[in-house]
Symmetry: C2
Subunit: 115 residues, 2 copies
Amino acid sequence: MVVGRSDEADDDRRFRAVADATRRDILRRTMTREYSVSELARNYPMSFAAVQKHVAKLERAGLVTKRREGREQLVRADVHAVRRMRYLLDQLEAMWVDRIDRMGEILAQEKGDES
Amino acid sequence: MVVGRSDEADDDRRFRAVADATRRDILRRTMTREYSVSELARNYPMSFAAVQKHVAKLERAGLVTKRREGREQLVRADVHAVRRMRYLLDQLEAMWVDRIDRMGEILAQEKGDES
DNA sequence: GCGACCTACAACCATTTGGTTGTACGTTAC
DNA sequence: GTAACGTACAACCAAATGGTTGTAGGTCGC
């Protein structure tokens, strides 16, 4: 997969969206079941509008979606966006493992040469 | 593991540190080998001081470490901090999977009742 | 020893962020 | 029908962020 600029911007948004304890908690809760925004808001020591802003930021990052049911907006997490972030971190770790592997080969080679 | 406030702050720092394309690229590069700060800086269309700030932010998040070699500071990535982020995302995904599993059980139960 | 290279950081600035209060509108329950 | 509930968003403000320029000091190579 070739990473383009729009992919980088999406990654920016996703990681930034989870770089806040309140938003991570919103994500945890909405991963288990749907919550309305005001139901979510009751869990945090801030105004309703502030929680609305957090939800909006998660939505712009593609981490949650909303659907209206009567007067309520129900928020649910989207595991795909979480997987995309995990994938990127997996790639980073793979680069690390690859480096360690290459060092191991060098060491093995040096040991062979010493015999 | 119980997540405490200082853990949350660490998570804030780590996710915020990777919420920027330049810093993700620095992380990719230093995952494969050590780079000096000025060597890194040659890759980005910004001042040396700006790259320095990016490296400092990664360092504060525990994602890279620096060691001095003569006049150069050599930067290397720390895979443990990447793993901590991945772990957190794994937990989120596990919550999703658990929810899907519970829905599957409910559906199976409903089908059993219909027979 | 001195020019080139490398790094650190202060001060500044424009933009973004994260919170508040206030206003407005739609839905629901009685 | 109206009070209660739920939501959206504008305007505001303080703090944080991400970049710049400039100054200063250490190391290295010739």
